[in-house]
Symmetry: C2
Subunit: 367 residues, 2 copies
């Protein structure tokens, strides 16, 4: 880790006072905003996340709001996922592609109304792409970044904690669905979603003023559940195969390469800007794809640049995220591997900054 | 300062090994890339920048390349600056605005050929906006981010150092002009420009392989000139009134509010997307504008959120950047002030996290 100089450009969030009081140890920068990465240690945070419940400042999941008669049409232009079946009250993971089929972002779309969507973005200024399209085609839609800051509650006790603050109505929210629930007299979108495999919720907090009251209410209600401040955990998200835009994929990659073909309905996604470019890969499959990779040996450094995956002399892929897993007693990693070497069980070598290590293509992520 | 967790998403640059060997103390994140902020200390770096010469890793100034028959047309759509007079070999500071006149970026456009431009961007994914427009209007232009990493040489001895590496041809490069000069047999765009008021050059390094050889050559040639690794300096850039996108201005602001009206020719910038929205403010002027602000008292904390500027009970503006200036023995700051209180000499109060301080609107930046 290195030092980060703060400035207004790296935006604080409505929850920053809570994060600081909880003793945050490090940040990353995500959508021009501070995102905590460590509280006690990545390992300790990991064990706690899997056993209790954490409150995460994920305000950096900024929203691109589409509002107006053409909102649904514009949403469909962005993604090869067919959105016609998505209901109001539903969330949908939507790979966003450009005209070449390259991924621009991998957000969750939240359908608030027939004519109102929030697109809860990963780390790129998707707003600029969407504004460019809406302007160019004179669509009847407002596109902007509203003052909405998600707060996540994640971990096996998440439902109990949420019920203590929002009432038992949270218990009936299904996965990737949301309800509007009240906190201090204000309606908030509460979805069963989040960037972990432990289960939990994301609360879309509109306006900054209720940020710390909500944070404090969760901390207070969770005392008996060992609630702590937390954050997306590097180890847990690799174990679960949760991809990170900018780490594991960029605009060089199609959704199919990223193993996101299951979220695409390229044939029927009429209007999707990248549809034509993706038809062939959707049918025939990609020549390289995301795979779970286990790496031999003990500790690994952080992946700061792609680590080549080689078979003999031949470069056949790269690792983009890796961390030592205490629970699985191996180094879990996310790689992109060429078809010739992507079968489960294939033994490869990964070239880390500390030297070559044995690597193996696994059948499944560690879930 | 706080700790930063590194990952592939916060991209390293071709010059990172040099930056690390030089003992970088802190970074910021800019265009998803590491940008050094401190080597010895902000104060020591400041004095050295004003007296000697520094080599800066500004690879984070990513390029948006426009290439093809419609490149110039597209460039003009982006900005209210009339680009018709810009020659090949010239650079131009171009405020970029959306359809409402709000600033999306404030890059330097580099005209490489009639049909080829680089737009050297500040901290936002301008590529997405430009791609959205080019795609929507079926323009005959390729838009992408090429593998180009600028390296800056800044300070009073910059010309001597550059001449030692590139030859005396650099001496005849005029301000905001460039020449293509050879380094190790490869042509590089070398411009007289940079994010300081001390004078200097920016070298647009194509491909990463020559990054460290160039870095080393500059360090070697500059030994007798006390050359050091450096970076944009907070104090020096505020003294010089160099604005920072995301700090001092956002898409909420017009170029006119930012004091950039002199770079706009709104009336004649035919095709500029924000032209119609800006015509009135271009003619009548804005109701608030960037101003140099001096702040009383000793040290100030970093500006992490806007500091309100108040006159009595009334909020009349905000400070977005501030630092103690050793040379001017005051705290220099950049503010945005309403018309009613923006005259030079106006005494205000700035509300810092450490409490209120006297503030004064100055006539000029400190240059």
């Amino acid at each position: 880790m290195v030092m980060l100089s703060t400035s207004r450009r790296l935006r604080r969030t409505p929850f920053s006072p809570g994060v600081e009081a909880a003793g945050v140890k490090a940040y990353t920068v995500y959508n021009h905003m501070l995102l905590p990465t460590v509280f006690r240690s990545v390992q300790e945070d990991y064990h706690h996340l899997k056993n209790a419940v954490q409150v995460w400042d994920v305000a950096c999941e900024r929203q691109v709001e589409l509002r107006g008669p053409h909102a649904a049409r514009l949403a469909q232009w962005l993604t090869p996922r067919d959105l016609r079946g998505i209901q109001v009250g539903q969330c949908a993971y939507v790979p966003i592609v450009d005209e070449t089929g390259g991924m621009l972002n991998d957000p969750v779309a939240v359908k608030l109304a027939e004519d109102r969507w929030w697109i809860s973005i990963a780390d790129s200024d998707l707003l600029y792409w969407v504004k460019g399209l809406a302007h160019s085609f004179h669509l009847d839609v407002l596109v902007d970044e509203p003052d909405v800051s998600p707060l996540a509650v994640q971990g096996p006790l998440a439902e109990d904690l949420m019920a203590a603050v929002f009432g038992d109505a949270v218990r009936s929210i299904r996965f990737f669905r949301f309800k509007e629930l009240e906190f201090q007299g204000r309606a908030m979108v509460v979805a069963r979603s989040g960037y972990s495999k432990q289960g939990g919720f994301e609360i879309y907090v509109e306006g900054g003023d209720l940020g710390m009251p909500l944070w404090d209410a969760l901390m207070e209600a969770g005392r008996g559940m060992d609630v702590r401040a937390g954050c997306p955990n590097l180890i847990e998200r690799i174990e679960g195969g949760l991809l990170s835009y900018g780490n594991d994929m960029t605009d060089d990659n199609t959704p199919h390469e990223c193993g996101l073909g299951k979220f695409c309905n390229t044939e029927s996604a009429i209007g999707c800007i990248g549809r034509d470019a993706l038809l062939r890969v959707a049918k025939e499959g990609p020549v390289k794809q995301i795979r779970p990779i286990s790496i031999g040996g003990e500790k690994v450094p952080p992946v700061e640049e792609f680590w080549p995956l080689v078979a003999g002399e031949r470069m056949v892929g790269r690792v983009s995220s890796a961390a030592r897993s205490p629970d699985f007693n191996t180094t879990v990693a996310i790689g992109m591997v060429r078809m010739t070497h992507w079968d489960a069980g294939t033994e490869l070598t990964v070239v880390t900054p500390d030297g070559p290590r044995p690597a193996r293509v696994e059948e499944h992520f560690w879930i």
